[in-house]
């Protein structure tokens, strides 16, 4: 069971504004899901290392040579607010 304050704290961390009614539903639903997930908390995992990757992959790296990057106007094409050839954002308080 997670409490209301935890829901608010996690929502803040996740940058999600939840309406008061949503917070209540979220608290119930997350608690319900965590009840099922809690099964892994009682498993015997002594000496079992965490998985870092499932296959022994080798990173694919491209050749280290300069190449053209995305043109500025293309990078800005989908932005809602473009100011002086940059992404516009509201002030940070």
């Amino acid at each position: 069971m997670i409490d209301e304050n935890t829901v608010r704290h996690v929502a803040r961390l996740a940058r999600l504004r939840l309406e008061p009614e949503e917070e209540k539903v979220m608290q119930e639903e997350l608690s319900g899901i965590l009840e099922h997930i809690d099964a892994i908390r009682s498993m015997d995992l002594d000496g079992v290392p965490p998985t870092t990757h499932v296959l022994a992959l080798e990173n694919v790296l491209r050749a280290d040579v300069p190449r053209p990057s995305l043109p500025r106007e293309e990078a800005l094409r989908e932005a809602d607010d473009v100011v002086d050839e940059s992404f516009g954002v509201p002030r940070m308080d």
């Binding site: 899901i33 498993m43 296959l55 694919v60 989908e78």
Partner: protein, 479 residues
């Protein structure tokens, strides 16, 4: 026979033989795409498709895929077509580049006719989490097509296209393939570049094909696998994908996963799977029971790891570089309001769950433990494949369920992926093929193999498909 009844391989052959043109094929399929009786499409590119068909028809020599139409899950970026990943957050978004896998198919002569509906950001098992609409199951319009790649599955079952692309994180190709009575494959993690796939859970996400035959799935896979400098987890694929030819399963050992044949599996699904196991034996294979003791812990493990990864991946959606922000006076308010209003309920649930599992004070209990359970699951598959060549199980514990049936209970929806998730956690290849009907609805059989066993998996599935002779045409479908 109508053009839409031809498999993709048959369409390629007809084009190479000069019996039809790409434009004729594209027009025949576009008529069904535009009618969209099962609401499979979010965007249609009729003009672009016809233009590319004409260009291919004018080539002195046809490329390998010859001008055959295809549909693409809306999670894959397409430069020329709006890409939303089923979310309001990306309404109207036009990507600046095309996903590598789509580009490779286009270079090989496939023609994209449109983008298919999906659960928002690929989170769901019924496509009901799409911010735009519900897709209907071609076998019964009152039922879900499965998900999250429900539009891609339905479009192939409905014969709007001969094949399509989906993405599979915990079962999002295999489960809708099962529910729609078609073939769906998730290859080994790293087989296909994820560049241009809008990320959900990066350690699990894989692109894969839907088709009505195993041969078509192999043909599509063949043109997508291989290393891509834009995806550091993509792999070389020496030898390539071969088209399946096997007619029997002589000498093969097939393990039946006991944990995935018990409680929670619908009786009708079990009956269909049992009869396909009998067919596997009749084809010359030995069928033995196999135990994967941690398989059923896969679901809980997945619902820690996938949300944790998604909470990080979806941090990029803030309405600033793309999308449309909800205006506010300061930046933090704008972030929170935009994300609070434009993400749907399931996406918010998973972001919350994942943020919780990664938060200070909970990390070791949830994320840390889940990563260790994942190791157990990986090891159990490794041990199983020392004894058997393939593992068999149902793909989905149930047939297609009615629309609205599970939307009020998130965990009931999560259970739809109980059979597909363990394979995903281990990064292994698996294919779902239709193996029979229960209550008039398709049942899928999942075959999984060791990493990089795609060719054997496809060959075995092909031999079994011929023996089962499942009719993929939904009742009443007129082509």
């Amino acid at each position: 026979m109508a053009l839409r009844d031809l498999t993709a391989a048959e369409q390629v052959a007809a084009l190479q033989a000069g019996e039809t043109t790409s434009l004729e094929l594209v027009d025949a399929h576009l008529a069904a795409v535009e009618a969209d009786d099962v609401e499979a499409f979010l965007a249609i590119d009729g003009d672009g498709a016809r233009e590319r068909a004409r260009a291919i028809d004018a080539m002195p020599e046809r490329p390998p895929l010859a001008g055959v139409p295809i549909a693409i899950k809306d999670a894959l970026s397409t430069r020329d077509i709006v890409t939303t990943s089923g979310s309001r957050m990306l309404e109207g978004f036009r990507p600046v580049y095309t996903a590598t896998c789509v580009q490779r198919l286009q270079d090989a002569g496939a023609i994209v006719v449109g983008k298919t509906n999906m659960d928002e950001f690929a989170m769901g098992s019924s496509t009901e989490n799409s911010a735009y609409k519900n897709t209907l199951n071609p076998w019964d319009h009152q039922r879900v097509p499965g998900g999250s790649s429900g539009g891609s599955a339905a479009s192939v079952a409905q014969r709007q296209v001969p094949w399509s692309l989906g993405s599979d994180t915990g079962g999002s190709i295999r489960q809708p393939a099962a529910l729609c009575g078609i073939v769906g494959m998730k290859p080994t993690y790293g087989a296909i570049s994820r560049y241009g796939l809008i990320a959900f859970a990066s350690s699990l996400d894989q692109v894969g094909p839907f088709a009505r035959t195993v041969e078509d799935a192999a043909l599509l896979l063949r043109h997508m696998v291989g290393r891509d400098p834009m995806d550091s987890t993509s792999l070389d694929w020496p030898g390539g994908i071969t088209l399946p030819t096997a007619t029997d399963l002589a000498g093969l050992r097939v393990g039946v996963v006991e944990e995935l044949m018990g409680e929670g599996i619908e009786p009708g699904v079990r009956v269909a799977v049992d009869s396909s196991l009998k067919a596997i034996e009749d084809l010359g294979a030995t069928v033995v029971p196999v135990s994967l003791p941690s398989a059923l812990s896969g679901l809980a493990t997945y619902y820690v790891l996938a949300p944790a990864e998604c909470s990080s991946n979806l941090a990029r959606f803030d309405g600033i570089r793309y999308g449309h922000p909800v205006p506010a006076d300061n930046l933090l308010d704008q972030y929170e309001m935009t994300r609070g209003q434009l993400f749907g309920p399931e996406v918010k649930r998973r972001i919350m769950l994942g943020t919780f599992a990664l938060a200070s004070g909970y990390y070791d209990q949830y994320y840390g433990r889940a990563q260790r359970v994942r190791t157990l699951i990986v090891r159990e598959f490794e041990a199983a494949f020392e004894d058997v060549d393939l593992l068999a199980s149902p793909t989905s514990p149930t047939v297609a369920f009615p629309l609205g049936d599970r939307t009020a209970d998130p965990y009931a929806m999560y259970l739809a992926d109980v059979c597909t998730i363990p394979v995903s956690l281990a990064g292994l290849p698996a294919i779902s093929i239709p193996c029979g009907l229960s209550e008039g609805l398709p049942v899928g059989l999942q075959l999984a193999g060791p990493a990089f066993s795609e060719n054997r998996l496809l060959d075995s599935a092909h031999a079994l498909e011929k023996a089962l002779a499942f009719d993929t045409r939904p009742p009443g479908l007129v082509t």
